[in-house]
Amino acid sequence: MSKRIGMEIALAAAEAVALCRPDVIAAYPITPNTHIPEHLSDIVAEGRLDAEFICVESEHSAMSACAGASGTGARAFTATSSQGLLYMDEVLGIVSSMRLPVVMAIGNRAISGPINIWNDHSDIMTMRDLGWLSLFAANGQEAVDMMIQSFKIAEDAAVQLPINVNLDGFQLTHMVEALFLPDQKEVDRFLPRRKPYAALHPDHPVTMGALGMPDIFTEATKARDQALVDSRKVILKVWKEWEKQFGRRYEPIEAYKTKGADVVMMTMGSMGETAEIAVDELRKDGVPVGLLKLKLWRPFPFEEMKKAVRGVKTLIVTDRCCSLGGPGGPLAAEVRSALYAEAARPVIENALIGLGGRDVTVDDFKQMFRQAGKSKGIYEFYGVRG
């Protein structure tokens, strides 16, 4: 039976990971994800989880240790944030190209500088194109659920890809929330032991990570891309199974009161919870607005995106980071690509908000809804002074 508990979300996420019985955890502390591996190290030390907890000397080593462990067929987990993710960078593409289903929690934090430890999405966006599956949690319950779902998705025979679960730093990681934590029996029923496609073993030699020269690199890249595209089916299947067993529904894009809405807001991560309140209040005043909450960032849900905006006049895409010198926020760029070929598509505005931990309030969302259609240029720094 699931138990309803009040717990800091990072600790609850760690409890969820422990329920998945990982064999190897390798992590290096960095704010704001630290409580996740820290609590896992407690769980291992207490003897509640039979896993190897490797105290590595850097994030580069953390991801390398996970790669090696996953290569032997082990279930491997790590967590990081911001600069730590950057330090892992060169190993991230190796892990996905070797089809190693490592699971990583990211306590999202701004990339410095100026030096900043607070939340935005600039860290995850640096690894956008490296072949990892990517989920965004809007609240603590989703963070817990997605941790468990991730192992099943990543290790599916048709997927075999690494996955990251994004929790907004502080707004989620350090928040105490009431949530349902499944018990061991339930998770065991949902998540079978990993059956690796291949595993490193002295008796059965296999080469992982061989050189790929120009005559094979294009084919290898096409195969990797197709693997991500095809993983969508498995993600949807796993989410259906989750709903059946635990009663909580997951979709690539969750629509909130979009029926009859002229103006629709789009969010990723914890801002969706705040935006819901703004939608409720404006709806009460008779203003037809709605909300789309993106949960699946990679593979990007192109088909769901097209369906989600049918009949919408103005779509305000919020981005919690800026592609400096580029088209604004990465989410808006993706949404514009997804809708470009559509005959009827909404006007798309892009608000860059909540950067480096700046609060985004209900009033901010109401203000953005009221300003809909007045945006100058293809993107705007909402609330910027000057």
Binding site: R99, Q160, A198, T207, M208, G209, A223
Partner: protein, 96 residues
């Protein structure tokens, strides 16, 4: 030089480009990369085996008389053997 293009299509790429047989780098002939080839002058060769030891491709082989030659299916023409050969028995000549 005929090279085995393996795998041919993207569908044939194994997940993670994993290779399940040992020693199949033999099937990949790197000799086509070569711009220069090493030629041994056995009159100067003292059979020390320095070329054999230093060849990064491990393609220098010893014959029955104790002299050395490169397997041109794999020799990339890097010239390390000629550089290391202190009696000066190896010359790099342009591939024509």
């Amino acid at each position: 030089m005929a090279q085995k293009k393996w795998p041919e299509t993207w569908q044939e790429v194994t997940p993670g480009c994993m290779i399940f047989e040992g020693g199949n780098s033999r099937e990949y002939h790197t000799g086509s990369w070569r711009a220069q080839r090493p030629v041994w002058d056995n009159a100067k060769c003292i059979k020390c085996g320095i070329c054999y030891i230093f060849c990064p491709e491990a393609c220098v082989k010893e014959d029955a008389r104790g002299y050395f030659a490169a397997d041109l299916d794999y020799c990339k023409g890097c010239g390390i053997c000629a550089h290391e050969c202190w009696p000066g028995a190896i010359t790099m000549i342009e591939e024509g």
